[in-house]
Amino acid sequence: MNARPYEIIEGLLYSEDHFWIKEEENGVCVVGLTDYGQHCVGDILYLEIDGEAGDVAAGRSFGSLEAGKWVGGLISPLNGVLREVNAALSDRPGIINEDPYGAGWIIKAERTGDFPAGLMDGAAYGDFVEEEIESEGAE
């Protein structure tokens, strides 16, 4: 068992809730769901972001998504101020399934303070996913 069937990109930061962060030069962080994360939830049918602007807090929900009949929270991997929501997802949230690290980005937030402890680089996240797959006996 390994994480190889799922794409993991070096240079990004990853949370245990399967969200990735890409910090841009201006300090704004792009946040999305990882390839493994989108695989676990399945075809995403609806996505709702709480409010157009405001704070996001690490470990707290900033919106919800629905796949199948399952509603799950979008769990922020960082503390920051919401700057932009990917408007394309409102009509076609399935873009997250098709291109989780590209067109399927979810929000952009301006980071406040340091990144929270516990974020992983690509290699560590790969190990984390492998462990999760093994512990559940999943494919």
Binding site: L45, Y46, G68, K69, G72
Partner: protein
């Protein structure tokens, strides 16, 4: 020693009360304040519920509901519109996402929990089975629909159970993938659901049904249930949250841009006529639900019902429809003289294309 869970039977409540309790029990479970819980719920007055992200205007016949005194509310869980008469029994569990032996991948979780209900129904002599992704069916006919929500470290997973069902009211109260002007389609929709009353020789009291379900959950989860009531903190939060769940803001919400249009297409082929009715969300390129009828021969009859279930909430793009239908028939075993999977694919694709052509069904213009 088996882990102990609370058995909470809240009896008949209004839709808003039931929805508020769902939120409170899930929040309290995620904060470690509540025990693992199996709750039974019922609705009075009868109610229509839309899924967390659905639009009431698109899913519910509001005028009809108002005239008939049917409550309307929004669930915190996902899925489609539902009609609950006062006889139906809802079941739901609240537990931790990790550490309790529950799979974290939703589809494995659905199956594990639905099997608890299946085990309970078996105790009543009903041979039910889980149908991916979220249904429990008897010989292809749906008896229970299910859905869930994760919150913090906890989740809620719930289902309905049809005991004695008023299909006429359901068809009038909800916007379903059948035209209300088409008697044949409506009667065919009746065959897609089944209630305990139809399956059992006598009407069982609700207490007996709940006892069987409880035993099924106990056996499948390997836990023991202990009857209990709401904790003081749960009660306090319930009172505080109830106005929110009664508010227009919660019930009607902001769900712009969605569609739920009905498109019907008759596809003639060598094997007969295939009539496909689709509910489509055009902007999202989504088949919300499907109903397939006609004069074709396909055995077993349940294959059509399983195909409808497989098409629910899938892409309406022609290439994806074709791929999904061909994959379905590859898995299914069926007998259909003069019919091929390509015929079904062509029929569904043609119905979906009507959306692009802007051909709403006549029924829709009346609503």
């Amino acid at each position: 020693m088996k882990k102990r869970w609370r058995l909470l039977d809240t009896g008949h409540l209004t839709a808003a009360e039931n929805m508020a309790l769902d939120r409170v029990l899930l929040e309290c479970k995620s904060e470690g304040l509540s025990p693992d819980t199996l709750r039974f719920l019922q609705f009075r007055p009868h109610s229509v519920l839309v899924g967390r992200h659905q639009s009431v205007a698109l899913e519910v016949e509001e005028d009809y509901c108002r005239r008939r005194g049917i409550d309307i509310c929004r669930r915190i869980t996902g899925g489609g519109n539902l009609y609950w008469d006062e006889s139906q029994i809802g079941w739901e569990i609240f537990t931790d996402r990790r550490g309790g032996g529950m799979p974290s991948r939703p589809e494995e979780l659905y199956e594990k929990i639905c099997q608890c209900c299946v085990a309970g129904l078996a105790r009543l002599g009903v041979e039910a089975r889980y149908r991916p992704k979220n249904d429990i069916e008897v010989a292809g006919r749906k008896i229970s629909g299910t859905g869930g929500k994760a919150y913090g470290g906890a989740f809620l997973y719930q289902g309905s159970l049809l005991t004695d069902f008023d299909v006429d009211t359901m068809v009038k109260a909800l916007r379903l993938p059948v035209s209300k002007l088409d008697d044949k389609a409506v009667s065919s929709f009746r065959r897609r659901v089944v209630s305990l009353k139809e399956l059992l020789p006598e009407t069982l009291p609700a207490a007996e049904i709940k006892a069987a379900l409880t035993a099924g959950f106990a056996e499948s989860l390997g836990v023991a249930f202990e009857p209990g009531g709401l904790l003081p903190e749960e009660e306090r939060r319930f009172r505080a949250l109830l106005p929110h769940f009664r508010s227009r803001r919660w019930i009607y919400g902001r769900h712009d841009g969605q569609r739920n249009d009905l498109f019907v297409h008759d596809h003639k082929c060598r094997g007969g006529l295939i009539r496909v009715s689709l509910r489509l969300d055009g902007p999202r390129e989504l088949i919300k639900s499907a109903c397939i009828t006609g004069d074709f021969f396909l055995e077993p009859e349940r294959a059509v019902l399983d195909l409808e279930a497989a098409l629910k909430n899938t892409s309406s793009r022609p290439e994806r429809i074709r791929g999904n239908i061909l994959a379905f028939f590859k898995r299914a075993s069926f007998d259909a003289p003069y019919l091929t999977p390509e015929d079904f694919a062509a029929a569904v694709i043609a119905a979906a294309k009507r959306q692009k052509e802007g051909e709403h069904h006549a029924d829709e213009r009346e609503v």
